[in-house]
């Protein structure tokens, strides 16, 4: 989807205009809808827009959103045609969230499932504490991305910032560009056929054109998993 092309409401699409309707009314309507297509206009950087969705809705947001857009999403497919603020798709469970612009800090934080796609760049702490979500970022990610990442996949087509994958657990991190620095206990892992297959499938789902062979794979060195205790006192 091109960011320059103006969106026209599709057939059978319900349109909400946040310049005229308040956020509570829009979210209430989204929570009540079992399915269908919705367009939201003039989001104007609103916080908590389209959060807590719980049905297979198709939601298109035309413009920039504030914090926690599509937070805790289940099943819904949310497309943000603009930039997203802090914590987009935080703690997402399932469904798909697409940001056609840039995402701010903590994108996909603690996400348990589903797919988050950021076409532009994601800033600091992308995928922090992720717990099973798949995140694909077309551009770069900022510092401390993948911090304490527990499960799931973080795919970065651009570069990764400092302290990448710091203190991570069992998540897989894939980067095509340069990594400014690895965080504590993060190390490069071999790129296996299984990794390449998984990556190819993720890139396809994310509608990103990239060669899986061009990525490097990072994961946990598992050296922080247990407290290291000396036994100087044992006899």
């Amino acid at each position: 989807m091109s960011r320059d092309a103006p969106l026209a409401p599709g057939r059978n699409e319900t349109v909400y205009d946040l310049a005229a309707t308040d956020l509570r009314a829009v979210n209430r309507a989204l929570h009540a809808a079992p399915d269908g297509a919705v367009m939201i206009r003039n989001p104007g950087g609103a916080h908590a827009l389209a959060c807590g969705l719980r049905s297979p809705l198709q939601v298109r947001i035309e413009g920039h959103v504030g914090y926690y857009c599509a937070g805790m999403n289940r099943e819904a497919e949310v497309t943000i045609d603009g930039n997203a603020g802090t914590g987009v798709a935080e703690n997402m469970m399932s469904g798909t969230v697409r940001v056609l612009g840039n995402a701010s800090q903590s994108a996909g934080a603690s996400g348990h499932g589903g797919l988050l796609v950021v076409t532009g760049t994601a800033s600091a702490r992308c995928g922090i504490s992720m717990k099973g979500i798949d995140i694909v970022v077309g551009g770069d990610v900022g510092h401390l991305s993948g911090f304490m990442a527990q499960a799931g996949n973080l795919v970065v087509l651009g570069d990764a910032g400092a302290a990448f994958g710091d203190s991570l657990y069992e998540a897989d991190l894939y980067v095509r560009g340069a990594v400014a620095g690895l965080g504590a206990d993060c190390e490069e892992k071999p790129m296996t056929d299984a990794d390449r297959e998984k990556l190819a499938a993720l890139l396809r789902r994310a509608e990103m054109d990239a060669d899986p062979a061009a990525f490097r794979h990072y994961g946990s060195a598992r050296r922080l998993y247990n407290f290291r205790i000396d036994n100087a006192g044992s006899r």
Binding site: L23, R24, N27, R28, H31, H47, A48, C51, G52, R54, G66, Y67, Y68, G71, M72, R74, T86, G87, E90, N91, M93, Q105, S106, A109, S110, H112, R125, I128, S129, K131, G132, F147, M148, Q150, A151, Y169, E170, Y225, N226, F227, R228, I229, D230, N231, A232, G233, S234
Partner: protein, 436 residues
């Protein structure tokens, strides 16, 4: 023996010597459970002023003394209505076994009050047996699930904990069984150190936005609590109110933990006594006292503690360690197991090892079978009822037909320290240190 030769150093008494040598042997800080062992100024340093010539007491048994409390009246569409002003504090499934969580739910429900999840998600045992369940949103977000969020009766955003303000959670590998690991999306058997800051907000301005999200997700139905460890309770309470809390939970340094560094438990945070007064002062200055409810916790043990906390301005109290003790924690049963841990009943703080002799803080099925959730639930209910009866007894003696009518003026302090911290007069004087 010459007594001069067996006198130990005040700076280096035997427990200090032992800890230095343990540190030298192991090269890692001591981790343990429970709360502070050191003595701190507490509610024991206050007394209630029973009725006399100027105040008239109520008859015990005959004349009613109300105990109920509404939590979350500020913004929530469905505030919690507790029959008693004593709630069960957050303790994680993981730190506690499923039997203990179930027993707490049973006991709280029977007594008409709420219980709270912890840093490990919500179990169905717990939800099923708790008529009112507060769901914690913690920095780790282990098991955080919007379905559970919607199943909860209230949401508690945890900023900190009295045992370790500024610290994150800990759970040693001994307790990370397959079930606990799966709920937390972690490998089994690792020593888990969870985050001390939330992953998607830092500071009250961002928290305000986070709270708005939680309200939007739950359609403004559920009360939202903010829990802080007592260190700067005046500021923290004010900021919690500014960030939009319905209820502020202030946890003093006597509060327990399942596992954290000993140095944290003993040396960080302030006691519950001064924390209550500071939190109430903030609420009063903002004109929000009683509009935003205050729950205090950390070292509440008796109905006297409940009455004194309420008299200082709290709306309710929360119990953690005391509830575990009601379950049988530190009871002289299975004494050989206490000894095997190198401790004895009454002094055990081995929650972190998962080898809890009485089957509470453990994930071992054999140990857990020592705790019958039904019987233990009854003990919790009994204990909660006693706390309430005791608090009513004291309130009636002060002439109150509801616990919430207790006031600071019903209190006197036995020590200068307590008088200064609680801002009530030193007994027998009208002197409040720090005031004219």
């Amino acid at each position: 023996m010459d007594p001069r030769r067996i006198r130990s150093s005040a700076s280096f008494p035997p427990h200090v010597v032992a800890e230095i040598q343990r540190a030298a042997d192991q090269g890692v800080y001591e981790i343990r459970g429970y709360g502070a062992r050191r003595p701190v100024p507490s509610f024991d340093d206050l007394v209630l002023l029973g009725a006399s010539m100027s105040r008239y007491p109520l008859e015990g048994y005959r004349e009613a003394c109300g105990t109920d409390v509404l939590l979350g009246t500020r913004h929530a569409r469905k505030p919690l209505h507790l029959k008693i002003p004593v709630t069960i504090a957050g303790m994680s499934f993981g730190a506690l076994g499923a039997h203990a969580k179930e027993a707490l739910g049973r006991g709280a429900s029977a007594a008409g009050t709420s219980t709270t999840t912890g840093d490990g998600g919500m179990t169905q045992e717990e939800r099923g047996h708790s008529s009112m369940l507060v769901y914690q949103l913690l920095p780790s977000r282990y098991g955080m699930n919007p379905e559970d969020l919607l199943q909860a009766d209230a949401i508690e955003v945890v900023v900190g904990q009295g045992a370790k303000p500024g610290g994150g959670g800990m759970l040693l590998g001994l307790k990370i069984t397959e079930r606990v690991a799966a709920m937390r999306t972690l490998p089994a058997g690792i020593d888990q150190r969870s985050a001390c800051r939330h992953p998607d907000w830092t500071g009250p301005d961002d928290l305000e936005i986070k709270i708005r999200e939680l309200r939007e997700i739950t359609d403004w139905e559920k009360p939202i609590y903010i829990k802080v460890g007592a260190s700067r309770p005046h500021y923290d309470t004010a900021l919690a109110v500014k960030a939009g809390a319905d209820v502020v939970v202030v946890d003093g340094m006597q509060g327990g933990t399942a596992a954290t560094q000993d140095v944290f438990i003993e040396h960080v945070g302030i006691p519950t006594l001064p924390a209550v007064r500071e939190a109430v002062r903030a609420l009063q200055e903002l004109g929000m006292h009683r509009k935003v409810q205050l729950i205090v916790s950390g070292g509440i043990r008796s109905g006297a503690d409940v009455a004194k906390a309420l008299a200082l301005g709290a709306d309710a109290v929360s119990i953690g360690v005391a509830a575990m003790v009601a379950l049988n924690c530190n009871r002289p049963l299975y004494e050989e197991d206490y000894h095997a841990l190198g401790t004895e009943p009454g002094a055990c703080a081995h929650c972190h090892t998962g080898r809890c002799p009485v089957g509470i803080a453990t994930q071992d099925p054999a140990l857990e079978s020592r705790l019958d959730p039904e019987a233990a639930g009854r003990r919790v209910a009994n204990y909660l009822n006693v706390l309430t009866q005791e608090a009513q007894t004291l309130a009636r003696a002060c002439g109150k037909s509801h616990l919430h009518n207790l006031e600071p003026a019903d209190l006197a302090a036995l020590t200068v320290e307590a008088a200064a911290m609680a801002q009530v007069p030193l007994a027998g004087t009208s002197w409040i240190p720090g005031r004219m």
